[in-house]
Point group: C2
Chain length 437, copies 2
């Protein structure tokens, strides 16, 4: 079934704000049963380590093993996968990895330090995380590109050890995923998935080393487990469904725009594709392209469902209004398919990634443009950023007072500490005052 | 009662690892009843807005008002507080604010963009958050320094509107807190607290505008509410009890070190103060200083409880071993009270803030050194950073392909997309290929 009924809105019509809110509404409330199940799994893994991990893997992934060693994949196996995949795939993965590495190197932050007039040193020491875990989904949605996008920023940051987990339900292995791990320089790979994999990474087991941060996409069990272990380890954002917002001046081939909308919609039924244009005839043309092209798509049913349930074609007064609506949505992917995309980008305050101009298909960003494809969804671009090298570095403040500085600022600290009723703070500062003053 | 029994350990003794783990163990498991109560409050605030906020404020803060307007404090009231506090307090707050502003300005990140050989533009656009909420505890633990530490980085980042909430149980207002808000340039202040304040900031009400991120410390209800609204808005880290780790070579006045340990211990009974030294006689001397000084402290009972329950004096082989133990602990505050603190700091991988040398009392960092006093606790310095300007800025990736670039990289994207079974992605890229090639 590829019948499509796509919502049409106009930003100037009465009730547009409410209609937009309904369109964007996304229920991310936690399922109580999933929660209970995840807590049970995490508790068992924390308590019983490897034994629990093996039991849950047998139960959920139909993968029975005699020892945990069977759930680890050797570097030789990764290299074998790299040799085995078609040459064009290997070349494409390597080309993508080069661009991703090159872009992310520009995100590295360095330590800095300065000295003020009285010899006091202040600064910030930047260090990589020691060990990071990357969750990679297995089965039907196995994405080698995600391996590159999650592992390479950690590598560029200088993380010493990268542990990847990927479920292999019933033993099914994806060679392209393993090849990507080899290219990205992943240190160890365990064929684990679900909440049990997250638990193993967060708490450590006899075999799986505990990591400092867990990143990567996963199903509701994985997402819930990550939320649960947040605090014990760091996590990246919990991702919602993927979204694209296209702003077009009406001068791009409508087939191109239709296909760009499809490229989000094909992810899953909850994905969201929205087009804004000041040109009503263009919206009609894109709708016609959608109807024409959807029947030619392998994932046409998913696309039709997604566009019908969550898609929209929205007429705006002009590109300024389009920027306003876009800032309200704070989309994950924003395509500016207009004559002067840089000028329009100036007006954009919130977006995960901005794709500039008619030639910049969002799909290029998913694979090989260079920037990360892990982006804030569901409006969280209002306060969060793409996954980056900065997610694998952390900072320590550096403070070194000279005797003169300790005297000058100790007097300030003493007044404030006493104002807050914290006498030990005050006296600790007062000991360092120049007693002759 | 200021009786103290402080744990003594040696890093070389058998069972040290287990003893250290027991010492550091901190149960941050969520209380089920608190959880239920917080969910109820958040649900009501989301549904009924101002009305619910007023009801909960009457119930929990014994503050009855006829309208929400009574729960907002005018800028005039903040200015009045600034005029009213003693001159030395005002001077101290302003001196602290200047240094905090100066340090944080160096954390600002700027947008960048570059063009590669075929004219493709890549970059990162850095923008401030639109609106931020700051939670400031009221009542007995009212800390004006926290207002500066939370508001100033947001201000430096360029956040357009800062909303502060501070409970005033039974109408009790702290002028120093309001004065700090005036100095920091807070835009609006509501006298709200607890989960209801967090809910009002996260969802917005008729009167309180919804914010994009909520930062600032609070009790278990506030922490639980922040954890709950995470995703709808951004939050800072959930803080555990405060901690200090002091590494001393034995050459600092033991009274100074004892008082430094007290300055954490006086926060609350769960605070943790640990001293590492290779000099056993020095550990004895500090213990003697502790016993001598604790009876002179206003908050002596809290200090005695904290040091007895969670404090420790640990003998290490040498400073290298001290650095190793410190990296395992990943302390919030780390004092290097040694002859060559910069050399020792090189060996430190994980710490919220590092205090260099004998003159650098940790208390200086709490108030006026410049760096932030909101720091990662409970070992989370392994993967997180002090609160900073970067917490109030976010990034958008910029990608602009030239026709030549879209052709070259589109071929790569097409191979990878087809390898992942995502045909719409592939076709969207293929439309932009140079069809003559």
């Amino acid at each position: 079934m590829t019948d499509i009924s796509i919502t049409r809105l106009s930003a100037s019509e009465a009730g547009f704000d409410d209609a937009l809110n309904r369109l964007l509404a996304w229920d991310d409330s936690v399922d109580h049963q999933v929660n209970e199940s995840v807590r049970h799994i995490l508790g068992e893994v924390k308590l019983r380590g490897d034994a629990a991990v093996m039991e849950f893997t047998a139960k959920f992934d139909q993968l029975e093993v005699a020892s945990m060693a069977e759930l680890e994949m050797s570097q030789a196996r990764l290299e074998q996968a790299l040799e085995r995949i078609p040459a064009d795939q290997r070349d494409a993965l390597e080309a993508a990895a080069d661009r991703i590495r090159d872009y992310h190197q520009r995100q590295r932050q360095d330590s800095w330090q300065y000295e003020d007039a009285d010899g006091t040193v202040l600064g910030q020491k930047v260090t990589p995380l020691d060990r990071v875990g990357i969750y990679v989904p297995g089965g039907k949605a196995a994405y080698p590109s995600s391996v590159l996008m999650n592992a390479l920023p950690a590598k560029v940051a200088g993380v010493a050890e990268i542990i990847m987990v990927v479920p292999t339900p019933a033993g099914v292995v994806n060679d392209m995923v393993l090849a990507a791990a080899a290219i990205a320089g992943v240190d160890r790979v365990f064929t684990l998935g679900g909440a049990q994999a997250v638990g193993a990474l967060a708490y450590g087991t006899e075999t799986v080393p505990a990591v400092d941060k867990i990143v990567g996409p996963g199903n509701i069990f994985v997402a819930t487990a990550k939320r649960e272990v947040f605090g014990t380890v760091g996590i990246d954002m919990i991702a919602g469904p993927s979204e694209i917002l296209v702003i077009c001046d009406g001068q791009t081939d409508p087939d191109w725009i239709a296909m760009d909308l499809f490229s989000q919609a094909e992810h899953d039924e909850q994905a969201q594709s929205i087009l804004l244009s000041p040109d009503a005839a263009f919206l009609d043309a894109v709708e016609a392209s959608i109807r024409k092209l959807v029947v030619t798509m392998e994932r046409g049913e998913i696309i039709a469902r997604s566009l019908t349930d969550r898609g929209a074609l929205i007429q705006v007064k002009d590109l300024d209004e389009a920027a306003e609506v876009s800032n309200r949505i704070a989309p994950e992917h924003l395509e500016l398919s207009v004559a002067d995309p840089q000028a329009l980008a100036e007006k954009i305050r919130h977006a995960g990634a901005i794709f500039l101009g008619r030639y910049t298909a969002e799909a290029l960003g998913d694979y090989c443009a260079g920037p990360n494809h892990v982006l804030p969804t569901s409006g969280t671009a209002r306060f969060s950023s793409p996954l980056g090298v900065y997610d694998f570095q952390k900072r320590s403040s550096l403070i070194g007072f000279s005797a003169a500085g300790a005297d000058r600022m100790g007097r300030v600290a003493s007044v404030l500490a006493r104002g807050e009723g914290l006498t030990a703070h005050a006296r600790s500062a007062e000991y360092r005052l120049d007693q002759d003053q």
